[in-house]
Amino acid sequence: MYKYDNYDQAMVDARVEEFRDQTRRRIEGHLTDDQFKPLRLKNGLYLQLHAYMLRVAIPYGTFNSVQMRKLADIARRYDRGYGHFTTRQNIQYNWIKLEEAPDLLAELATVEMHAIQTSGESIRNVSADQYAGAAADEICDSRPWAEVIRQMTTFMPEFSYLPRKFKIALIASQEDRAALRWHDFAIRIVKNEAGETGFECYAGGGMGRTPILAVKVADFVPPTQILSYLEAVLRVWNRNARRDNIHKQRMKILVHELGEAEFIRQVEAEFAHILTLDHDFPQAEFDRVAAYFAPPAWETGLSDEIDRSDPDFALWVDSQVVAHKAPGYAIANISLKPVGGIPGDISAEQMDLVADLADKYSFGEIRATHAQNLVLPHVRKSDLPALWAELNAAGLGEANLDLVTDIIACPGLDYCSLANARSIPVAQKIAERFADPARQRDLGELKIKISGCINACGHHHAGHIGILGVDRKGTENYQLLLGGSGAEDASHAKIVGPGFDEAGIVDALERAVEHYRTVREPGERFLDTYRRVGMDGFKEAIYG
C-alpha cells in the first residue's frame, strides 16, 4: 500500500497544527460556531447527538495492522473502547472531546492517517473495491488511481467551499463492488481494443431524499487526464449549482436540471480549456504511486485444497471466502454483523486481534467495505482454518456475507441528531428473527439496508429490501422498500405502502421474505424474483 513521503507527511502535520490553532481560536471565542463548523467538518468532526463524532479516513478502504492498532488505541484513550466502520469505508468514533481532537489527529498523523475532508461540503473519501489487488476478476488494481485522486483532491483551492459533499468511487471489474452509480463521480477502469487503459466516467448519482443513479458522461478518458477531467466536472458544478437550498445543491440535481447532454457539453468545454493549463501529473508520478501497490510476495507451490471436514468451518468458507487471483490464496471476509450485535461496531480488543491476524495471515493488510465489514485480502488457503478459529473465538466468525443477517444500518437515532428513528434495534431484531444458519442459506443473497432518516446513510435506496425510519406524529415509524441494488445492476428500491412500528416492520419484512420463497424459481435471489414478479404480490403478502 501507499507510504507517505516527506511531502505527504508535511501536509498532514501542517493540517494538524492548522486545526489545533482553529480549535484554540474557537474555544477562546474568536470564532463563532457558524464560522468554525465548516473548519471542523473539513477535519471530520461533527457535533452529534451525544458528543463530538470524528470520522477518520481509510483511503479507498485500505489500511494496515499498524494503523489498525492505532485506531484501537484511539478508541481506548480518546473514546469509549470501540469504533464504527461506515458505509463509505471510514471509521467513526462517537465520544470525542473537541479539546482533545488536535492531539488525536496528531497521533493519527504518526501512522499516516487523517480525517481530512471526511465531512462537510468537501470532496470525500474515494471509495473502491474492497478486493482491489486481490480480486480474480479485476483488470488491474484500481488503488494507485484512487491514491492519486486522493492527493489531487486534497485541499483543492478552487473547490474548497463546494455546494455540497462530493463522493467519488472507482472500480476495475465488471462486478461493481463499490456502488458506482450511487456516487457523484465514478470511474470504471476499462481497456480498449488496443489494450490501452482508460476511464469510463459516470456523474450525478447520489442517495439522500432524491435518489438518482449516475449517468455515463465519458466513454474513455485517458488516465493521465483524469485530474483535468475531474476539475472540469467540479468547476461546472461549483459555478452552476444552487446555493439557496441545501436540499438542491448536490451535483445530481444540477445534472438532472441541465439534462445529461447539456451537462456533458459544459464539462467537455471546460475540460478542453483546463487541458491547456497543464494541471495533470506526468505518467512518472502515477508509476511512482503504482509501485507501492505491487503485489505482496505471494508464495508459489501452495495447496489449493481447503479441508471442509469441520461443518462450521465449511459454512464460514462458503459465505466469507472469495476467489483470489494468486493460486493457493483466498480473500477472507470478516463479519462485523454478529447476530444481535451492532452492525459495523468493533471493540478495541477486536481491532487489536484483527491487526494480529493481518500480520499473521495477510501480509499486514486489511480492508474496510462499504457494507461495514472487514477483509483480509491475501490469506493462504492452508491458513483459513486457523484464521477462522481465532475469529470465531473473538465474536468475529459470523458466516453471513451478503446474507439476510448481513444488514447495513446507519447509527440512527441512537447516535445521530439527524435521525427520525432508531435503526440499530431494527437490525438486531431482524437478525435475531432470521438467525438460523440453514434459513439464512436457504434465502441466499439478500441485502437489507436500513436508514434512520431520509439522508439515507444506510443506503436504503440500494437495498434488496430497504427500511426507512420516519417520524410519524412524534413516534418512530418504518417504511419498507423493495428492489434496490448498488451493484452493476443498480436500481432504486420502491416503497411498498404505509409504514409500521418497530415490531411491525420485522413481521412485514418476514412476510415479504416468505412470499419470495413461495414464488421463487430455482437459483433466483430475492432481488431477481422481485424484478420478475413485480410489487403486487409482495404488497398483498405484506398487507393482506
Binding site: M11, A14, P38, F155, M156, P163, R243
Partner: protein, 143 residues
Amino acid sequence: MGNLIRLRDDAAADEPAVSLDSFLDQSNASAVRIEAGDDVRQLLPVLDRVRLVEVDFPKFRDGRGFSTASILREAGYKGEIRATGDVLVDLVAFMRRCGFDAFEPDVAIDPAVMESSLARYAEVYQSAADGRLPIWAKRHAQA
C-alpha cells in the same frame, strides 16, 4: 474600505466598482464587481479595460468566487482581484491560491492570523493560479 488588505505594490483603483452589466455597457469604467451568480467569462473579451475585479462572497460558504478568480487568472488577467463580503481569515490561503491579491472583509481580519494562515502549508498538491510548484512536480524535477 476600512478593512481592506492589499497584497499588491501598485496603487489601488480609486473609482467604485460597477456591476458586470454596467461595465459591459460602458467604456470608461475600469473597476467591476462580480456577484456570486455572475458569469465572469462575459468579462474575458474586455479584460484589457479592467484594473480591479471585486468578487463578492455573500456567505463565506458560497465558494463560487474561487472559480471566478481562477478563470480570470487563467485568461491572463494581471490586475487586482479583491474578495469582498463574508471573507473569513480561514479562507484567505485558498483565495490566494486562486489568484486573489486583495481582501475587503465585512469584519476585519486579524493580520497575525492571516500571516500564519498563509504560511501554514509549505507545499501544495495541485497547480493553481498562484503558480506554486505542486508536489508531483517537485517529486519528478530534473536534478
